[in-house]
Subunit: 262 residues, 2 copies
DNA sequence: AACAGTGGTTCTATTATAGAACCAGAAAGA
DNA sequence: TCTTTCTGGTTCTATAATAGAACCACTGTT
């Protein structure tokens, strides 16, 4: 059993994204298809605790600094984040490109940590970016190791959303097969137009898929011809990555995803 | 009017701090003096949306990665954060110490941004740290410019909590007077045992106090004798800091504080 | 074997919520 | 200038969601 009121409050919070970082009251109510009185009460409550900020100049609502506070608690607690950093740095140094750590969260992928290369387009601002599992090497490599039933549902979701990167269901399943066969995947221009990436999957001690690690950079540098070099670096560090994941608390919400299995 | 249920849910979230990053269900219920069934329902709801993570190994609840996601939205939106960074870096370079940007939020001070010096003890992990306004130069310098009624209440709060750094009410008001007279303040070992800081206040266009900017470092380096040098750097950059604050959205929740005035 | 913990579940009296109808003010259009 | 149509915010009560006692099943301790 979950609380309906709290669910609504969280859906209010979830409405604030990079694309829509501020909302007017009635605007947000329409977006959520809720009565504006209700949204008002929720926003007021969130504001009182600093989760939301009511900008007096624009009269709009925005996310509050309480969230910065809490995210700091998470990051501090996530010891794995600091354990994994030196390994990611090593890969970045070896390849000369940025390294992205992606985590499976419910039925989406989230960029949890990014280590930038020296010569890089800014990337780090994408930390926390969440997207469906059918987009990009980092995500596809995760999808490949999920139960077929879930793969089916996620691909269908993509098709019904007219996702650009799914040609046909058959072709997509072939990609997933290929990934499982070779253990890595390369894509260009899926998550970001000018960015290409090569990714390998990461598992827990029970061989459950947890996330992925990727080398990413501008298309013209990270070409399919270069993948060999980068793959070697990824595979060289695979063991240390796995042992870190095994040792430390890891907030992958696989549970919810698996509960959807019939 | 605010929502009681959502307030409870937020108080659940607020229970997760650096000191207490994970809670058992009944443990948390006791802490909040709530029925464990209620806490269970709230946690389940928060978990469903990724705000909370139920660690299957320890059976304890922890904050979820959704918060990292949201904090990234806040930071992206906070254009002032990037505008202020070069100025803070300049001060860090000039003084050789870390620079801390503190914001007034309701009746507390929050470290919103920290630029580290090269030669520094790690400090940045304190981003988001929240503490009462009677502790530390960065906070006292804010308190000095608040209405007397609020100063009174905050000091009384401190006294009833047996705060270490308040000798007597009279002595404390003298400190606040001194701050207003000289426009800066120096403390050593208040917020952190081995750290000293010198701070100046920051105001909006209506001369309302918004926050403060501080130079901070280990006591043995940031001595009272060194303050002149650092003060010059702070004051040199004061105008650029003010103009940035004037230009950009700034989430200081003064409103709630001011609403408490009789 | 008894006991005291734990996380999780069920059920209904009670309480908090949803949402229509209502402000007052701002902006847009005629 | 006078409507009209927005906006954020408020009030009130039928009704829907919540609180919390009593209850599992399980684990660890004595």
């Amino acid at each position: 059993m979950t609380s309906k009121t709290v669910s609504k409050a969280l859906s209010v919070l979830n409405s604030f994204t990079s694309e829509n970082p501020s909302w007017g009251l009635r605007e947000l109510a329409r977006h959520l298809d809720m009565n504006h009185t209700v949204v008002y009460r929720l926003l007021s409550t969130l504001e009182e605790e600093g989760y939301v900020f009511h900008n007096p100049d624009t009269q709009k609502y925005e996310l509050g600094i309480k969230l910065i506070e809490l995210s700091n608690v998470v990051e501090e607690h996530l010891k794995f984040a600091e354990l994994i950093e030196p390994i990611m740095k090593k890969i970045a140094l070896q390849t000369g490109e940025s390294v992205v750590f992606t985590i499976l969260d419910n039925e989406e992928g989230v960029f949890l940590k990014i280590v930038e290369s020296e010569q890089q387009v800014r990337f780090a601002e994408s930390v926390g970016k969440r997207s469906p599992l059918y987009i990009g090497a980092s995500h596809k490599v995760i999808l490949a190791y999920l139960p077929e039933e879930i793969q089916n549902r996620i691909i269908d979701d993509g098709l019904s959303n007219n996702a650009q990167h799914i040609e046909s269901k058959e072709a997509f399943f072939e990609v997933l097969e290929k990934i499982k066969h070779q253990g890595w995947y390369y894509t260009a221009g899926e998550t970001f137009n000018d960015v290409a990436a090569i990714s390998i999957p990461l598992f827990d001690h029970k061989k459950n898929i947890l996330g992925s690690i990727s080398v990413a950079g501008p298309k013209y540098r990270v070409t399919i011809e270069e993948t060999d070099r980068m793959l070697i670096s990824l595979q060289e560090n695979y063991q240390s990555l796995s042992s870190v994941l095994r040792k430390s608390f890891f907030p992958s919400r696989r549970k919810f995803l698996m509960n959807t299995l019939s």
